[in-house]
């Protein structure tokens, strides 16, 4: 079953750490993994990308996360990401930035992973992402805190905003986004947590962990193809299907 772990942060300057994380994911049985290089705005080099992909039998994909401080900052940054061959996400507390990101077709994911950012999710952003066929991302990392009071608070916020997005029929992706190795869980386990603790019906939870990330990957692959105009529409030469 193609379950996806949609966000695993890695430091691209430390290959040993990447190796360790990939080995741990393999041990957990994760097959599809989306890596996010941290502390860099530069694209990951071709050599390193190939090295990571050949290091393991897992299906590895890459994503980049923008964390702009202002709308101008966002507009300046996004100029460099036309026809970007990887997944691009935007994460910000600022509602204006969120709305601009949701409106922009270059942005694939508007991320609400952080518990402080999660509280700023609004119906407007959900509608815009739906219009734009982009995704809203939540993360289950906040539930792994050890403090019971903080944990229940995080559960409450996750429940409230995931239900808001789910009832608005948004395109949702839920990732682990765990920093520590021993916090990592298989997406199948996360699916079960979403079903039993966050009240997401089983079929919808499966869609969130399996179908939506797959759609996202397909969207990126179509973007790489120059003949593809948008999802499902492709230019063909002289009626040939090649």
């Amino acid at each position: 079953m193609p379950y996806f772990e949609s966000r695993l942060k890695v430091n691209i300057k430390d290959f040993d750490e990447i190796e360790k994380k990939l080995e741990f994911c393999k041990k957990l049985g994760i097959r599809n993994l989306i890596l996010e290089p941290v502390n860099t705005f530069k694209q990951i080099s071709f050599e390193l990308r190939e090295k990571i992909i050949h290091q393991t039998k897992l299906n590895i994909y890459f994503r980049y996360n923008l964390t702009p401080n202002s709308v101008n900052d966002f507009k300046n940054a996004i100029k460099n990401y036309n026809n970007f061959p990887y997944i691009l996400s935007v994460e910000s507390k600022d509602k204006e930035i969120q709305i601009n990101a949701a409106r922009d077709s270059r942005v694939d994911i508007v991320s609400f992973s952080d518990e402080n950012i999660l509280k700023t999710l609004s119906q407007g952003v959900i509608s815009l992402t739906k219009q734009n066929n982009s995704f809203i991302e939540f993360s289950l990392a906040p539930i792994m805190v050890r403090n019971k009071a903080l944990q229940s608070k995080n559960f409450r916020f996750l429940y409230k905003f995931i239900q808001l997005a789910y009832k608005s029929k948004a395109n949702i992706i839920i990732s682990g986004n765990f920093d520590e190795l021993f916090d990592l869980r298989h997406p199948r386990s996360l699916l079960s947590i979403c079903h039993s603790l966050l009240d997401i019906p089983l079929n919808s939870a499966k869609k969130i962990f399996m179908d939506n990330p797959k759609l996202l990957i397909e969207k990126i692959q179509n973007r790489k193809n120059n003949n593809s105009i948008e999802s499902g529409i492709r230019l063909i030469k002289g009626g040939e299907l090649n």
Binding site: K27, L28, G29, I143, K148, S189, H195, S196, L202
Partner: protein
């Protein structure tokens, strides 16, 4: 009265190599997790039973009622430590009969041996 159906869950125990703990500590941590996240209302429906725990080969099999399968999977996933040591109980497979879960376990173990 209609007989209650059971589910057998195979899970992997991931821990640091030099850490040891017993069966009692594992079952206590699973119960603690059930209590913490689901409470008494759910805990009395579970019917938790340990079938097999193998720390050397790092796997375990537990039995629960079929209605609480996802609750047990969540509770296992939410166990973070046993005796203060970091551990992951990662569910691998669920089955309706003990025979098939053992067959699946053997298949997985053989596959791991080969790789």
């Amino acid at each position: 009265m209609k007989r209650e159906r059971q589910r057998y869950i195979l899970f992997k125990i991931i821990k640091e190599p030099d850490i040891r703990f017993g069966q009692k500590e594992v079952i206590n941590s699973i119960w603690q997790s059930i209590w913490r996240y689901f409470g008494m209302k759910i805990a009395n429906k579970i019917g938790l039973w340990i079938i097999n725990l193998n720390f050397e080969k790092e796997y375990g099999i537990i039995r629960c009622s079929h209605q609480t399968k996802y609750i047990i999977i969540s509770a296992l996933s939410l166990v973070q430590q046993i005796n203060g040591k970091r551990v992951i109980l990662s569910p691998l497979k669920t089955s309706g009969t003990i025979r098939s879960i053992i067959r699946i376990k053997n298949l997985i173990m053989n596959k791991n041996k080969r790789t």
